[in-house]
């Protein structure tokens, strides 16, 4: 066994050495200044009315990438759900009720995080921020609550969890298809409602992304991770 493993270790060495050499050479061959598509993008962003050019690229110019990226995230969630060993993983309490300090901290932090998530989405159009950042914070808030022993709220039945996970993608597809009714192409937002549509998508996406992150966490948690079972 040992020999079998030592011999192929040559291949990884060659591969990473090759990467260093060839990619290094390629990088050094580049001219020190280049602007790529920066100018076009900035001009385009001015025309579209979204102040943060990265957000404009993400949700407008290359909104199609982002649509598929949301699909990747939801797909990964579905994938991890399909791999879970315990069908009830999503609705299980995985830790005992936290002690007084952690409990108090969670009660303070969680609402604050939700607020921050909302803020991140709201400023996304002009400053760094947006649905992914907001969703990540929201998901973190969820994980924090779960870890401190807060079970899911009563309304979150299995079906409802699925709806929350999906609503962002569904809304995105809906908004993407909507311009087609007026003869536009996929994701061709009408100029007058562009900002509102993007904000609408972002809010729902934040929810779904947060739920995705929480589900990814819960689905992988083992049934034996400690704490009492309800």
């Amino acid at each position: 066994m040992g020999d079998r493993r030592r011999f192929p270790a040559l291949l990884p060495l060659l591969a990473s050495g090759g990467v260093l050499a060839f990619v290094g050479r390629a990088v050094l061959a580049l001219p020190p200044t280049a602007s790529g598509l920066a100018v076009e993008m900035r001009d385009g962003a001015k025309a579209s009315g979204i102040k943060n050019v990265v957000t404009a690229v993400l949700l407008d110019f290359r909104g199609y990438d982002t649509l598929l990226e949301i699909a990747v995230l939801m797909l990964a969630t579905v994938a991890v759900l399909s791999l879970r060993e315990d069908p009830a993983a999503l609705s299980r309490r995985i830790a005992g009720r936290a002690g007084p300090v952690l409990g108090a901290l969670t009660r303070t932090l969680a609402p604050l995080m939700i607020l921050v998530a909302g803020h991140l989405v709201w400023v996304g159009s002009s400053e760094p921020g947006g649905a992914f950042q907001g969703g990540a914070v929201l998901g973190a808030a969820g994980i924090l609550m779960v870890l401190s022993g807060y079970a899911q709220p009563a309304w979150a039945g299995r079906r409802m969890v699925r709806w929350v996970l999906t609503v962002g993608l569904l809304a995105f597809i809906g908004v993407a298809l909507y311009p087609m009714l007026g003869g536009g192409s996929l994701l061709q937002y009408p100029d007058e409602s562009r900002k509102n549509l993007i904000l609408f998508i972002e809010i729902l996406l934040t929810l779904s992304i947060g739920a995705s992150i929480l589900s990814l966490f819960l689905a992988s948690a083992s049934a034996t991770a400690g704490g009492e079972r309800p």
């Binding site: 060839f22 990619v23 050479r25 390629a26 990088v27 061959a29 580049l30 280049a34 602007s35 790529g36 598509l37 076009e40 993008m41 385009g44 407008d60 110019f61 290359r62 909104g63 199609y64 990438d65 649509l67 598929l68 990226e69 699909a71 990747v72 939801m74 797909l75 990964a76 579905v78 994938a79 759900l81 399909s82 791999l83 879970r84 069908p87 079906r159 699925r162 709806w163 996970l165 999906t166 993608l169 569904l170 597809i173 993407a176 298809l177 311009p179 087609m180 009714l181 003869g183 536009g184 192409s185 996929l186 994701l187 061709q188 937002y189």
Partner: protein
């Protein structure tokens, strides 16, 4: 709304919506969502093909921005062929799966999430065949990869998990390599749109390194020998409808991008020698995959190695493309016909293998004697699919072999023709090894559950499609002539 002109956007949006809806629909209604989606997507794919046949290739500006600002979808003849193939195989697999995944066990088959995963995969394949943007290819490839890996593991056995893990790491390596390639290409050119790149690409170390990395990554994803190590286990241990999709469609997705990068985006000789290397590796794949298939004792492993071999044929177009427009036309039409016929036949073989395994309760070829009598439709399906694998007339596989042999002979590089002929004979050897067992006169007690009409006849339907494809070759040639590769090579239809 003009469905013909909107078909590229809809071909992505509709299955994506289907995936999302099937997730919330619950396990009972999800199959209906999938079947409805499949029918709509088939209609859209045909509409797109008709539109291309009528007016030639067209671009679809997502978001209305247009390259280089936005992302463009490209609908040309080659894309149309792959989309229609995907839709046909997809519909058949969907129908087959309604019979195959019939289980009341709550935890089996990934908690009924097969439908959602499958529709995501379909979305990503359509997106991959349509996209005109090298970074968007990366996102599509990831969608394909994640859904494919998960579908392999959905059966949940140790073997499937092991195959899935191996597949996942190959997929990760490919994804990161591809993204690195894109990073270098963008740094050198400042462009991501394939058509803009085609017209602006100049000799440049960084751009060439980027493209080489991208092609290497795609070769890994297409499982061209020697990067095929992950394929047989993954395709062999997945549930049969999944194997069918993986073998007949998924490997074609990354191949299609190679085709476009090699023959459309890059000027001839941009990466010197790479075309020859790909041809040589393709030849090696044909021989190595066939020999391995001949040695397998389990039916799905045999079929999976056959895929390794058949992928090889697809790469013979690259060395042949150097010999002028006429040879290129023959060779490109040849690989397109091959992709179609292999897609249909391999789908049929995996579905048929799945049905045989269900009925026999095992997957050992040696113990499948007598199937010809108790499961004649299945045996006939395997035989017809075999005919097209071997490239014998009358079948799509024959059309492909003929076109490629002609291209090889016309190019003067006759040795590719020798490879093709040897490949056909080896395919005959492994297919008849399987068939002769099925035809043995042996009293058999097949599994008590009699075959469902779907699991018995759908494999035969796909195989018949692969055979009848020979009559559709003029249509395929017309679509090939409407592909950007040939149009940009100056071939007038």
């Amino acid at each position: 709304m003009n469905v013909l002109a909107q078909s590229p956007g809809l071909l992505v949006a509709v299955p994506l919506a289907g995936a999302a809806i099937s997730f919330v629909a619950g396990r009972r209604r999800a199959p209906h969502v999938a079947i409805t989606t499949a029918l709509v997507v088939l209609t859209l794919a045909v509409a797109l093909a008709v539109h291309v046949l009528d007016g030639g290739p067209f671009r679809y500006q997502v978001g209305g921005w247009g390259a280089p600002l936005g992302i463009d979808l490209v609908a040309d003849g080659a894309a149309a062929l792959f989309l229609v193939l995907t839709a046909i195989v997809g519909l058949v697999v969907t129908l087959y799966a309604t019979a195959y995944f019939r289980t009341d066990d709550e935890t089996a088959y990934g908690h009924g999430l097969f439908w959602t995963l499958w529709l995501f995969m379909w979305t990503s394949l359509n997106a991959l065949f349509l996209t005109g943007d090298v970074f968007n290819v990366y996102v599509c490839l990831e969608l394909v990869g994640i859904s494919a890996v998960t579908l392999v593991t959905i059966g949940g056995g140790a073997e499937a998990l092991r195959a899935g893990a191996r597949y996942l790491f190959a997929s990760m390596l490919g994804a990161m390599t591809y993204l690195l390639g894109v990073a270098l290409l963008y740094a050198a050119t400042g462009q991501l749109d394939m058509d803009v790149l085609r017209t602006t690409l100049v000799a440049d170390t960084t751009a060439a390194t980027g493209l080489a990395l991208m092609i290497a990554a795609l070769v890994l994803k297409t499982a061209l020998v020697p990067a095929h190590f992950w394929l047989p286990a993954a395709h062999g241990s997945a549930p049969s409808p999944v194997s069918a999709v993986l073998s007949s469609l998924v490997v074609k997705g990354s191949y299609f991008v190679i085709l476009r990068l090699m023959l459309d985006v890059m000027p001839a000789g941009y990466l010197p020698g790479v075309d020859i290397v790909l041809g040589v590796l393709g030849s090696a794949a044909i021989v190595w995959g066939s020999v391995q298939a001949l040695l397998q004792t389990r039916i799905k492993q045999l079929v999976a190695y056959s895929t390794v071999a058949q992928i090889g044929y697809l790469f013979l177009v690259f060395p042949l493309a150097r010999h002028g427009a006429d040879v290129l036309t023959l060779a490109l039409t040849g690989v397109l016909v091959h992709a179609l016929s292999h897609g249909l036949a391999k789908g049929s073989l995996f579905l048929g293998a799945g049905s045989l395994m269900t009925r026999f309760g095992h997957d050992r070829i040696a113990d499948m004697a007598g199937a010809a009598r108790s499961a004649p439709a299945l045996t006939f399906g395997v035989a017809l699919a075999g005919v097209t694998m071997m490239g014998l007339p009358p079948s799509g596989g024959f059309g492909a072999k003929w076109l490629l042999v002609s291209a090889a002979l016309a190019s003067g590089e006759w040795w590719w023709a020798v490879v093709l002929v040897i490949g056909g004979l080896l395919a005959a050897a492994y297919m008849f090894r399987l068939l002769s067992v099925l035809l043995v006169d042996a009293p058999t007690e097949l599994h008590a559950s009699k075959g469902d009409i779907r699991t018995e006849w759908l494999p035969l339907a796909l195989a018949l499609g692969a055979v009848l494809l020979v009559l559709a070759i003029p249509l395929v040639s017309d679509l090939a002539a409407a592909s950007n590769v040939l149009i940009h090579a100056g071939v007038t239809p």
